[in-house]
């Protein structure tokens, strides 16, 4: 059997169906010199060539693939921004000011999910106020864990969810491999599987701790077609802790179906089959994970999925327009 290795030969094949092009909710920025170069947060990646990320580079790629808008968020940098020190808070501020500048420079092309300095609750509350009120961000970006062994449902983070619930925030949750699992010695880097396990852990944490029940205004976006969530949903519902049933009045599946799922680097037939058999099309969002991933690894798979025009338009743009009305055509 021929494996899917011909990706890059098909370049340029994909043309968005939605008028105005795609809205890419999974697209990473990296401020200049952030992370000291070469670190996990240095940008570049499989999609970026060797240099540091620049807004111009993203705009070129977006033009090439018919992406109208990219909502920027910081890539893998939990070790820098979640260190719970003044340094981490300053780094978060650097990221947010840089993101806001990208938006100002390209107001019709870039949106922005601002970062917050987990696990520092007071610092996060301050940054939320700054990001919304001063920078006019489109939502808040968090990693799946706080780098100190807590997942988002942990009670100490509750004031953050209260504040974001009050602001009817859109929460973009990006995976970050937790301390437990970053150096497991089984032969593969943690980017091969661990990162996708994490999305499932964090969603579970949100639900079993009642965060989404107490703050139903929060809209949560997850990455990579839900990581491993769709295939595990059945076993999860049968293993759901009985003493947390009050948080899922309509069952676990109903909660999973409320989340939003970007398709970045997970438009392969297998994850897509699992996702679409579980979650309604109103919840699919377009994403690419550029520049850690080349845009090709997402878009080259889309024609093979044989999606209807309606579903394509919803996934590429219309669902995102509902979340971010300022980008409505």
């Amino acid at each position: 059997m021929a494996p899917d290795n011909g990706l890059f030969a098909q370049q340029g094949q994909y043309k968005p169906t939605a008028k105005g092009g795609c809205i890419d909710v999974h697209h990473h920025l990296s401020p200049p010199r952030f992370g000291g170069g070469g670190g996990r947060g240095a940008g570049g990646g499989r999609g970026g060539g060797l240099g540091a990320w620049t807004p111009q580079q993203s705009i070129e790629q977006m033009d090439k693939f018919g992406i109208g808008v990219a909502i920027l968020s910081l890539t893998q940098s939990g070790d820098i921004i979640y260190d719970n020190t003044e340094k981490g808070r300053a780094a978060v501020r650097t990221v947010n000011d840089f993101g806001a500048k990208c938006m100002q420079d390209y107001p019709k092309r870039f949106g922005f999910f601002a970062s917050i300095p987990f696990p520092d609750v007071q610092g996060s509350l301050k940054e939320i106020a700054y990001a919304y009120d001063m920078l006019k961000c489109d939502g808040i970006s968090i990693y799946t864990n706080d780098q100190q062994g807590h997942w988002p449902g942990d009670p100490h983070l509750e004031p953050i969810w209260e504040e974001l619930g009050r602001r009817k925030a859109i929460l973009y949750m990006h995976p970050w491999v937790p301390a437990c699992c970053n150096n497991l010695n089984y032969g593969a880097s943690s980017f091969m599987n661990e990162i996708d396990f994490e999305t499932t852990r964090a969603v579970t944490s949100f639900i079993t701790n009642g965060v989404l029940f107490r703050h139903p205004e929060l809209r949560l976006i997850t990455a990579h077609s839900g990581g491993t969530l769709p295939v595990l949903a059945g076993r999860m519902k049968d293993r759901y802790p009985a003493d947390k049933n009050q948080y899922i009045p309509n069952g676990l599946l109903a909660e999973i179906k409320k989340l939003y799922y970007d398709c970045a680097h997970a438009t392969y037939k297998m994850p897509w089959a699992a996702l679409t058999s579980l979650v309604p099309p109103t919840q699919y969002l377009f994403g690419t994970d550029y520049s850690p991933e080349p845009i090709e690894t997402t878009v080259n798979e889309i024609p093979g999925l044989k999606l209807s025009r309606d579903v394509l338009e919803m996934m590429e743009r219309k669902n995102a327009e509902r979340l971010f009305p300022r980008f409505k055509m």
Binding site: M1, S189, D196, A202, S205, V231, L232, Y240, A274
Partner: protein, 346 residues
């Protein structure tokens, strides 16, 4: 990905899509249903994921399917009820008892194996056995493999997805075990065990909710990227729960194969992952089945139940909704498994 079984398979998938939609609309009423969903397979189904529990190793989990300690009589009654003619027995979640690397662990493994072999003798047409091994003790494991095959006449060897000491099966440490299993053309049945790193993560649920399935994926990755299948092609590997998260992640995994591992994957990662066999125990829900059937050759999908930690209903009640073809059911329920274990040919 290329479709590898032509029109009939596409047909199945199309119908599976519809079934998925129906299942969503209808909700899941598995346990309130009165009707017994007997598995419709000529000769009866072969269950490759079915756990025995030696009484001397404690009362056992019982689990969601058990209602009290496990007994062979209970299992035989359940098999009869659901149209299962053969169960290949293996030990359930007992890593802390079996994988201690001590004399106590070796003794417990031997107890489990002798007990399983006794059940096989008493019910030769109904029970098979995957013999357990006392990892992380490699010498003890080699001895037990010999005992299992030569004295007990097991059908294969059961291992957990990690050795309970922070090692996964592709670690060089296990090389002598793989050499020996390759020499014996073994069938290896790999069952999850939550690893030390991930048993007590404080995010809400017990490790059994999702960590088991993650560890299946780790162990499969470990075996594949470290070249175990490349060096020991005679071993046939079975794992559980529709592959845990392997089919869902296969695409992202292939793009993340470590450079040093390419030499073990002459035909790419997919080709190696497709050599595995996956049982559908407690993972016959439309969503994992959709990913599994897109990814795997259909002759590598096997029937399993995870009884008694799981009630048999949680697998078989999902099957009618999948609207699988008769041929597929026959192959998954028995034909594919008969090829691995010819002694159970009907």
């Amino acid at each position: 990905m290329k479709d590898n079984s032509g029109t009939s398979r596409r047909e199945v998938l199309k119908r599976l899509g519809t079934a998925g939609a129906v299942a969503i609309l209808g909700g899941s009423s598995a346990f309130t249903q009165e009707k017994v969903n007997k598995v419709n397979v000529r000769g009866g189904a072969i269950d490759v994921h079915h756990h025995h529990q030696p009484p001397s190793l404690g009362p056992g989990a019982g689990g969601r399917g058990g209602g009290g300690p496990w007994t062979p009589e209970k299992t035989l009654a359940q098999m009869e009820k659901f149209g299962i003619s053969v169960a290949i027995l293996s030990m359930t979640q007992m890593g802390d008892i079996l994988y201690t690397g001590t004399e106590a662990g070796r003794t417990a493994v031997r107890t489990g194996n002798d007990y399983g072999a006794k059940l096989m003798q008493q019910h030769p047409r109904q029970f098979g056995l995957f013999g357990g091994v006392p990892l992380p003790d490699i010498e003890g494991t080699l001895k037990e493999i010999e005992y299992c095959y030569d004295t007990l006449k097991v059908d294969g060897i059961g291992i957990y997805s990690n050795d309970n000491k922070g090692r996964w099966p592709g670690d060089k440490y296990f090389e002598p075990m793989w050499q020996e299993l390759n020499r014996r053309n073994a069938i290896v049945y790999m069952h999850p065990l939550a690893p030390l790193c991930c048993r007590s993560l404080d995010y809400g649920p017990a490790a059994s909710m999702v960590e088991f399935d993650f560890d299946v994926t780790r162990a499969v990755a470990s075996i594949v990227v470290n070249g175990v299948m490349f060096r020991y092609p005679n071993i046939r590997f079975i794992t559980v729960h529709s592959g845990g998260t392997v089919p869902m992640l296969a695409g992202r995994m292939k793009d993340r194969v470590p450079n040093g591992s390419q030499k073990y994957l002459p035909n790419g990662l997919y080709a190696e992952l497709r050599k595995w066999y996956y049982d559908i125990a407690h993972a016959a829900f439309p969503w994992p089945m959709a990913a599994l059937m897109k990814f795997m050759p259909h002759d590598h999908i096997l029937f399993g139940t995870d009884y008694s930690p799981e009630p048999i209903e949680s697998t078989v009640n999902e099957l009618p909704g999948l609207d699988l073809s008769k041929d597929f059911m026959q192959a998954m329920g028995r034909g594919n498994t008969e090829r691995l274990f010819p002694r159970f040919k009907a």
